[in-house]
């Protein structure tokens, strides 16, 4: 019995459990692209590389590969436009620190004064999810998001202030973060 335990639909990679043995498979789905690995690697792929956890069984390799090819094809032919909130965290994940700081400054200087709350929330959430550094938020050049938001934003923008505060807590005291 074969079971997909983790999948990345964007590029067709999958971790497959074959009677207790965990294999990593990727396109073009040939024997040479099959790599023996461990359940721990599959777990790591889910929490670190954003694979989707799955529990789908197949009677044989043909059925499993057909499923993977169909998922990959559906993903690539998808006509829907993903909202920025979905892909922004992926783009900002490894972006250079100075670019994140510039983005933060633009949120404070352009979006918040213009009351573009929705855009500010999307970008602050994306920054919150990405890897960062405390100095980004406390740099005198940019100011902290809490300061920016609480001084510029009027009443009714508590989401922005809340997210900014959460970012600050997370990056200043990562070990005590609740988010």
């Amino acid at each position: 019995m074969l079971k997909i335990i983790a999948i990345a639909s964007e590029d067709g990679w999958a971790f497959v459990d074959r009677d207790g043995e965990v294999l990593l498979i990727k396109p073009a789905y040939s024997q040479s692209n099959l790599l023996a690995t461990s359940r721990a690697s599959a777990g790591k792929a889910i929490y670190k590389y954003r694979f989707e956890a799955m529990d789908e069984s197949f009677p044989d390799w043909a059925a499993l590969l057909e499923f993977l090819r169909r998922r990959l094809s559906e993903r690539h032919s998808k006509e829907d436009v993903a909202p920025p909130g979905e892909f922004a965290p992926e783009i900002l994940e490894d972006a250079p620190k100075e670019l994140k700081a510039k983005l933060l400054a633009r949120i404070g200087k352009e979006l918040i004064p213009n009351r573009e709350w929705k855009a500010a929330i999307v970008l602050l959430k994306a920054l919150q999810k990405s890897t960062g550094t405390p100095e980004l938020w406390t740099s005198p050049n940019y100011g902290s998001p809490s300061c920016v938001c609480s001084t510029i934003a009027p009443k009714g923008c508590w989401d922005v202030i809340s997210i900014a505060g959460s970012c600050l807590r997370k990056w200043m005291w990562p070990n005590n973060s609740q988010s």
Partner: protein, 51 residues
């Protein structure tokens, strides 16, 4: 990815968030995200081989 490329993509994300891009341009930005995610995942194989 180079800093200049990241700059362009980050600007795209900013404009996409404020709704200033066409659907086609937003799809391009989303495509960059998929590419970056895929590149990040390619390190899995190295980790497994080196384990």
């Amino acid at each position: 990815m180079s800093v200049s490329a990241y700059t362009r993509v980050t600007d795209l994300v900013f404009e996409a968030a404020r709704g200033a891009l066409s659907d086609g341009e937003v799809k391009v930005a989303g495509g960059y995200a998929d590419v970056l995610k895929s590149l990040r995942r390619s390190s899995i194989k190295l980790e497994i081989v080196n384990a």
